[in-house]
């Protein structure tokens, strides 16, 4: 085996072991530990934002600024793709 492969496999194992160990410390699936922020959102989405949809209220109201960033990312990607596929002057 190449030296690179050995190093990669070794390093890979270490990182995987640490990830596995750490994930067992997260709350079990389906039983989130702390939920105060999300409960606040669910309880108040209708009277604060006037929306029935909790996810949309987070996406566009509570964390609307993230969505602006997200729209910007798509805009940047389109600008980038159009720039990469532009015709270069001969």
């Amino acid at each position: 085996m190449e030296k690179r492969t050995i190093v990669a496999v070794l390093v890979f194992t270490i990182v995987a072991v640490f990830f596995f160990f750490s994930l067992f410390l997260i709350h079990p699936f389906g039983k989130p530990g702390q939920v105060n922020m999300d409960d606040h959102i669910i309880a108040n989405t209708q009277n604060e934002t006037g929306t029935n949809n909790g996810v949309t209220s987070v996406v566009f109201d509570y964390r609307g600024f993230d969505t602006l960033g997200e729209a910007t990312i798509l805009f940047a990607a389109v600008a980038g793709v159009l720039m990469i596929f532009r015709r270069v002057k001969q």
């Binding site: 690179r4 190093v7 990669a8 070794l10 390093v11 270490i14 990182v15 640490f18």
Partner: protein, 111 residues
């Protein structure tokens, strides 16, 4: 007033400039004792190569990669390792990232 304190020393650019300009004036004064017969754009400024013609600009041009040849040759072992490290392979870039990740996991995670 303009000195920068570091706790154990200080640095004052204004003072430095004063000293530097005094040194420069001294140097300029010493330069005045030189020969006054030197004239620009005469044969005096041409290189004298034992009567041979001056080579063309391309021939005289020392390439940048030949500068510091001695240093790079004496540090050859270091440079071969460094060149080997910079493979230019995209996967290796990610591999270095994972290696550092693993090292720090071991150091910080175990401690």
């Amino acid at each position: 007033m303009f000195s920068l304190e570091s706790g154990s020393g200080f640095w004052n650019p204004i003072l430095w400039i004063l000293i530097f300009s005094i040194a420069f004036l001294l140097f300029y004064g010493i330069r005045g004792f030189g020969k006054s017969t030197y004239k620009k754009d005469t044969d005096q400024t041409k290189a004298f190569l034992s009567g041979n013609e001056e080579p063309s600009a391309e021939e005289m041009h020392v390439k940048a990669s030949n500068l510091y040849w001695g240093f790079t040759t004496s540090m050859k072992t270091v440079y071969t390792e460094l060149r080997k490290m910079h493979t230019g392979n995209t996967s290796d870039y990610v591999l270095w990232f994972v290696i550092i990740l693993a090292c720090l996991f071991l150091i910080i995670g175990v401690m």
